[in-house]
Amino acid sequence: MNAPVNAPADPNAPFDVVIVGAGVAGALAACRLATSRPGARILILEAGNNPANAAERAAFVDTYQVSPTKSVPSPYAELPNNKQKFAPSSDGVPDFAVMNQYYDETGPDVFASGFQRMIGGSTWAWRGNTPRFVPNDFQLKTKYGVGVDWPFGYDELEPYYAQAENELGISGNANEWVGITPRSGDYPMPGMAPSYGDELVRTALSTIKPIDGIPVKIVTTPQARNSQPYRGRSACQGNSSCIPVCPAGAKYDASVHVNKARDELGVELRTAGVATKIVPPAGDGQPYTVVYRDWTVADPAQQQKQLTARHVVLALNAIETPKLWLLSGLDNSSDQVGRNLMDHHSAEMVGLFGQPVYPFRGPQSALGVDTFRDGDFRKNNGAFRMTIGNDGWGRSGSPEKTLQSFLWDDTNKKIKLIGKPLQQAVADKVTRMLRISISTEQLPSPDNRVTLSDKTDALGVPHPKIAYKLDDYSKRALAYGHSVSRRMWQHLEDTAGATRVDPLQPTLKYNGAGHLMGTMRMGDKATAVVDAWGNSHDHPGIWIVGSAVFPTGGTANPTLTVAALTLRTADALAAAL
């Protein structure tokens, strides 16, 4: 099944489409194109070289469990593109000194989100949350006078959202989304079962009054995580390690569509190939050339190879796509390539619930609050999604940290508790740990920008250089999110015995959400890189998929919108073939 079925008479003939990047966008584009144009010759070029099978998944789990840090990239650290820095992934550690291993950050603020360069891309490590954007996310300028509008509205994307939900396999409860995100149909499977503790928190919050007139409505977060067997993958087994790796494969990752494209649809997959240059056609009727380095070849002088294609789809991500564009010296008539880099800034408010909620059993989160994702306040500050965690204090404190706090007096270098009393202290605290998190909206800014660094990787390819600054609108989103979280926790203190709430004052500290967006934005030719279909304004054979094309970042995790946009762009490209 692995031989390309669409082999041409002339092996040197240009491919119809070369897709650069085997993440969710590239893999979905490949499947869609190959399905609607069965005779087309399609190739995916991928910088990583990992097998995407059960044995590799098990190896990732082993690597994770023996990792001393258990960081997000830890399961994938042994892949040679990372370890030998042929095509390094960024680590997403929000610290200049550590992050600088890949990003060359010039500040003044930290861009704190990373990604994985591998077959399947960052979906290996994602949580799997897949809410849709709300309708007003597409018309921020018209409705609230900030940011920019998308070139089309929610209604245009709705059918593609529904298709994307079926492709990825989204669990969700449609009836909970009435009035938030209109839907033409149901989810392909029921929403994830919330945990024992989730239900305690939901019950406690059921009596809270609206905050600033907005109801605190708890909804089941749509997730690309199976609540029942779906297309050959099992239901969630509750490994409680969605980030950074799902041992069961019940969480969608893009290896699903990479394997489908290669094994069932005749798409060729070429791995360990790091694209270094896209060359436009030499003349009318000529193909594009994709130059790449094959890092499995030992002799650097022999590593450079090339492909030709009538159409090139760039599906790297919002960091690597503009990097490749700039490296290639492609036209940039709007001057927007690499600009408008965005993320969602997340922050946690933690505390102890009045009774055990027993975290670390089941998905890391199942419930959230999506009513603060829209409202007139968006004229003044960014909106936000809220998550009710099922993973203790999340990034604010691990069970291991709690253990140390009861075991060790670091000031006096003495043992505090051992034996059963230590067990009891740890159990009493950790089982009551709860986080409520916000993930806030950021406006596009042309000064938040990806350019080329002087630093290079093992292949001599420049690292991305990132300039990044939080604007006041985005900072106010963090502050307002803190205010709403604080009032929710106050209710839990008043009615459910909650204690130890932290932080009591807004700190404006944030984590990255891993949502790289906005550097190849969609819009008209004067102000954007691609048109409403993802087609380059300057180079008509180049198409861009992924969250790089987002004009604004919206108020939801981007992957479902990435998937929907990709299907839409693939349809436009199929029509052009």
Binding site: V66, V245, P359, I415
Partner: protein, 135 residues
């Protein structure tokens, strides 16, 4: 009594458990000894003295807190049993030697959960939705 059996008994006193795995104990004794050889020997001596006292846990706590080096190796011994990992004298982590050592960490059973990335299996409550129930 040998160091091996005494380390196992010491570990049970420190953790409050009664049925710790002998092979795991040997693996942890070896890992700790690589960085804390003298301190570990001194801890075993302190344990032997405390074990005959009326309140071994209290006696041992008093003894180890009289010497920062003993306190430190006590901390790391408890930590490796709870997490499969400890901190070496140079403050770098000594990661679990195997996934099984990580999975054996006591902290997960103490908080009535399971090691991350190792879902519970029968006869424990397991499979889709086990998390909806009180543990």
């Amino acid at each position: 009594m040998t160091d091996a059996t005494d380390f196992l008994a010491l570990s049970e006193l420190l953790t409050g458990e009664t049925d710790l795995d002998e092979q795991l104990a040997e693996a942890y004794r070896g890992r700790l000894a690589a960085g804390y050889a003298q301190d570990l020997a001194a801890l075993l001596t302190a344990y032997r003295a405390a074990a005959s006292q009326g309140n071994p846990l209290g006696a041992l706590t008093t003894a180890v807190n009289a010497d920062p080096k003993l306190a430190r190796v006590t901390r790391e011994t408890v930590t490796v049993w709870y997490t499969g990992q400890f901190t070496k004298p140079d403050e770098t982590p000594d990661a679990p030697a195997t996934p099984q050592q990580y999975q054996a960490g006591l902290i997960w059973q103490v908080i009535k959960a399971h090691p991350l990335a190792t879902a519970p299996v029968p006869p424990a409550a397991s499979g889709y939705g086990y998390w909806t129930q009180h543990p």
